[in-house]
Structures are given as C-alpha cells and as structure tokens.
C-alpha cells in the first residue's frame, strides 16, 4: 500500500471514530458543566470550572448503588445458570445417543426464529402472576437461563473433542457426569467464555422484560432504572449526563480490559455452524 493511501485510510478512520466516540465525549463534557453553561448560546465546549459536584447530586437523587448491585446479581446469576444448563444439554446433544435427539434439537432451533415479544405476555402470566415473582430479581433471571443459542454454540465445542479422550475415560470407569464435568468442561472453556460474554452483554442491556415485570425502583436493574430517569428528571442536562456517564463507565472499563475476549466472542456468533 502506498503512503498516501494509508494516510487517507487513517483520516477516514479517525473521522469515523469521532462519530462513534464523539457523542460520549460530549456526554462527559456536559456532565462537568453548570446548568447555565449547558444552555449558553452560543455554545461553549469546555466548562469554566469542572463541576464534579454534578455526580454527587445525581448520585443522591438516584439509587445508582442499588441499581448496580441488582444488575451485578442478575447478570452473574443469568450467566452462571445459563452456562450450566446449556452446557449440560450441549454435551448430551454432541456426545450421547438417545431416541428423539434430532427432533428435539430441531424443535429447539425453531424457537430461535421466534421474536421475543411473543413470549412476554405468557411470561408475565407464568412468572409474574402464577409464580408470584413480580418485583423480584429472580423474575429477571428466569426467562434468560434457557438458551437455545447457547446450546447451539457450545455443541460445536463439545463435538470437536476427540473421541479417544472419551473412550479412555470410559475405560477408566468414568461416569458421564464426570466425563462432562472433569474432562470436557475444561476443554470447552473458550466456548463458555464466549457464551458468557454474549449473555453478559445481553443481560446488561435488556430493557423490555425488566420494565414489564418490575415496577419498584429497588428491584430494577440499571437498564430499566435509567429508563425511568428519562421520565422523571430531565430538566438538568448536566445531571442527566452525569447519570449517563455513571452507567456507561464500568462496562467500558471491563471492555478495555477484556477487549480481545469480547471481540472473539462476538466473532463466534458469525461463524456458520
């Protein structure tokens, strides 16, 4: 590639990066201004004096700590249970023979095509009303732990393990449970990590179901809680932006540390299985 061509590619990519990151920088800058500065005409880019106090104010007005705590609990429980249930089934579909296996697998795959909103009213009836779980964190976890996509993804990893390994373990008298847990689970770790990260992102961003089933702010995740902030306190732009920064920052930090893992996990979804 010529130097000139490289130069133009960099210029284009810098401009594109600004389109994607610029709004977040603006969010951050606004959060450091006074209210008067946010509505100043003509607009000013930088605050006269940095107003960290906005973060303190929005933190007092809004229960970020509770929301974060709830989010962490829901995300961890969802990821853990989903990985366990999906890996058990994926192991069976990949390594065991039983009547009706293909039919079951195809039925499950069919569910992948069905849009999520089809299930929302019945979920509200079953989980909310019949199990009496309205306004609980459990209600947020239950619908997301049975993942057909997860089985689909993990099955490929289980299927790739050489048969000799399983045979050797069987000769040593290992039960299926031990083969699954002690021999195969360590070998499918990359798949588990990929599924775990994808589930984490989805669970973190989920909005519709939490809005439906939980009404009290004490039992909300950050995603739904912050949506309420939109309705209630939107007068002070600098405080709203400070709230947005508080909600964005932790995930960006996690992402910065595990950048490669995130990207690899998402790349997994695109591989034709």
């Amino acid at each position: 590639m010529t130097k000139l061509k490289k130069y133009w590619i960099h210029v284009t990519l810098v401009l594109i990066s600004i389109i994607f990151v610029g709004p977040f920088l603006w969010m951050f800058l606004t959060s450091l201004k006074t209210y008067e500065e946010t509505i100043q005409v003509p607009m000013i880019w930088l605050p006269d004096e940095i107003q960290w106090v906005n973060y303190q104010i929005v933190n007092e007005k809004f229960p970020f700590l509770t929301l974060y705590f709830n989010t962490v609990v829901v995300v961890i429980a969802t990821v853990f249970l989903q990985l366990l249930i999906a890996s058990l089934a994926a192991f069976a579909f990949a390594r065991l023979a039983f009547p009706g296996k293909n039919l079951l697998f195809l039925t499950f795959l069919g569910l992948l095509m069905v849009p999520g909103q089809i299930f929302l009213i019945p979920h509200f009836q079953i989980i909310g009303v019949q199990l009496n779980l309205i306004d609980t964190l459990t209600a947020l976890v239950i619908p997301n732990i049975f993942s057909v996509f997860g089985v689909f993804l993990l099955r490929q990893f289980f299927a790739a393990i050489p048969q000799e390994l399983e045979d050797a373990a069987k000769i040593d008298g290992c039960s299926s449970l031990r083969i699954y847990w002690q021999i195969m689970m360590p070998l499918v770790t990359p798949g588990l990590v990929a599924l775990g990260i994808l589930t984490m992102i989805n669970s973190w961003k989920e909005l519709l179901w939490p809005l439906i089933v939980n009404q009290s702010i004490e039992k909300m995740t950050l995603s739904a809680g912050l949506a309420n902030l939109i309705g209630e306190h939107t007068t002070y732009h600098e405080q709203v932006m400070a709230g947005a920064v508080i909600s964005v920052l932790p995930m960006v930090i996690i992402f910065a540390f595990f950048q490669r893992k995130f990207v690899e996990s998402i790349a997994q979804t695109g591989i034709k299985g």
Binding site: F24, F98, K101, Q117, F119, I230
Partner: protein
C-alpha cells in the same frame, strides 16, 4: 455403557433445558396464540372472540402506522447497517497501525445501555441547545426539532438505530474478513487485479455467508425495534405516534392499556411478518451467498 443407560443419561442432561423451554417457550408460544383469539381483562378473565382482534387490527390506524414505521426502519435500516458495516470492516482490515484503537472506538455504542444511548441522543438532538443543531448551524443548515417534529422523527430514530447497530455488526464482519485466506488475495495480485476488482470479485463473494448472517440478524433486530423509540420520544407527544413500531405498540397495548388479547394479536402478526421475510431471505440467499 449399554444403550438404555446412555439414553437415560442423555435425557437427564437435557432435562433442565427441556423443562424450561417446554414451559416458558413452547407452552408460552401456544398460550400467546390462544390469547390472540380472546378478549383478556385486567384480572385475566377471558372471552373467546375468534378473529375479532385481528379484524380490529386491520382497521386500527395506529397499528397501520406502527406497521408502516417498522417497515421504514427495516427497509432503510438493514441496507444502511449492512453496507456501512462492510465498508468500515474493510477499512479496519487494512494493514495499518492502530487497528485495535479504531475497533475499540467503534465498538463502544454496542456495550452502552440503551437508556444511556437514549439520554445521550436526546441531548444531542435538543432543538435549542443540542450539539447537532449547533454543528449544522456552522455549515448554514437551519435548526430542527429532531425528536418532536412528526415529519423527521422517524429519520432521527433511524440515524441512532444505524449508529448503534453498525457498532456491533462491524465486529462480526471484521472477523469474517480475517477468516478469508490470503491465498486468494495473493493470486489476484499476481494476476494484476486492482483494489476495486479485488473488493468486488474476491472479498464480497467470500464474505457473503457473513454478510447474509449480518443481514438476517439486523433484519430481526430492526423489525423488533423498541428501546430507542421508547427512550427517546415521550409517549404523550404527537411525534410518538409518528415514530411508533410494532413492538412499542405491542407494549403500549398489552401492558400500558392492559389489552392482553389485542397485544397478543399484534405479536402474532409480527411473528408472521418475521417468518415471511426471513423465508424470502433464505430463498434469495441461494442467488448471492457462496459457501466454499
């Protein structure tokens, strides 16, 4: 291990998943279809009304608009998302320094909460003090009421939709590009192909399975658009009626107005639409997707 034991073990391993899917998805699916033929009261009392809900839907102007808007978001959104993502992935895949930095920058919207995106863009779109009107004024464009003017509110949603979706799709497409063996490129270069020829004759065909995947994913995603509309536009404004989608109307009907039967009918119509469009896509793919 004998056959019967192996079968039993297999059933035990899939039991947790099977029970969950059977109750929460298969049964729920049937129940939702059933509810769409019923009038459901606030306390769950049901009256069978046959196709009445669907007949009402066909005459409901709000539903018609929601349907039209959803087609708008999907019809314009998918081509934009897919083509922009391909271009960005291609740029990122060039042998240049700082690839990781650019990739990280582009990916940030994909891990941001929808609510934060909503708050952020409402502020950017603010008609008096927003950054967008400020920047447009610099190049001599009149300020606009981006999220309250009924004529442009759909476009404003579309912009954010594309911005947020591209962020995710680029990563999938970039991975697809990186899986293309360099053998093809080397051979093309020896034959004296130029960049344009390489892009259209080699890169695109070899990337087509990934492009197809991204098309399907963004189609299903845009047909179910909810978050951005719900978060950026106040439900009590006129603009909301001009921006609503099938899913926002579903949410409003089923959980705002507690018309569960009517809501179920809306979701059934969406299901049929998604099935039809996905089916067409799968039929068409034979013409342009190349698997090795």
């Amino acid at each position: 291990m004998n056959k019967h034991r192996e079968a039993l073990t297999g059933y035990l391993f899939i039991a947790p998943l099977f029970l969950g899917l059977a109750v929460l998805f298969l049964y729920a699916f049937g129940q939702n279809i059933f509810l769409s033929f019923n009038d459901v009261g606030v306390f769950g009392e049901r009256t069978f009304v046959g196709l009445e809900n669907f007949r009402e839907l066909l005459q409901d102007p709000v539903f018609k608009r929601a349907l039209g808007n959803t087609f708008f978001y999907t019809g314009l959104g998918v081509p934009l998302i897919v083509s922009i993502s391909i271009c960005l992935a291609w740029l990122l895949n060039q042998k240049i320094k700082g690839q990781v930095f650019y990739r990280t920058a582009i990916f940030i919207p994909a891990i941001t909460l929808p609510a934060a995106i909503g708050l952020l863009w409402r502020w950017l779109y603010n008609s008096q003090y927003g950054l967008i009107n400020f920047l447009l004024a610099k190049v001599g464009i009149e300020p606009r009421a981006w999220i309250s003017d009924p004529d442009i509110v759909r476009w404003s949603i579309l912009i954010v939709l594309v911005w947020a979706s591209v962020s995710y799709m680029v990563i999938i497409l970039l991975a697809g590009l990186q899986r293309i063996s360099s053998v093809y490129y080397d051979a093309a270069q020896i034959d004296g192909a130029n960049t344009r020829q390489i892009f259209f004759k080699i890169t695109l065909p070899l990337l087509s399975p990934t492009i197809f995947f991204v098309t399907i994913v963004s189609m299903i995603g845009t047909l179910q658009i909810f978050d951005l509309i719900f978060l950026m536009i106040r439900a009590d404004t006129v603009a909301y009626q001009y921006a609503n989608s099938l899913v926002t109307y579903f949410y409003e009907a089923a959980f705002g107005l507690n018309l569960r039967g009517y809501g179920a009918a809306i979701s059934v119509v969406s299901l049929i639409l998604i099935f039809l469009i996905t089916y067409v896509q799968f039929r068409l793919q034979k013409r342009w997707v190349h698997y090795d």
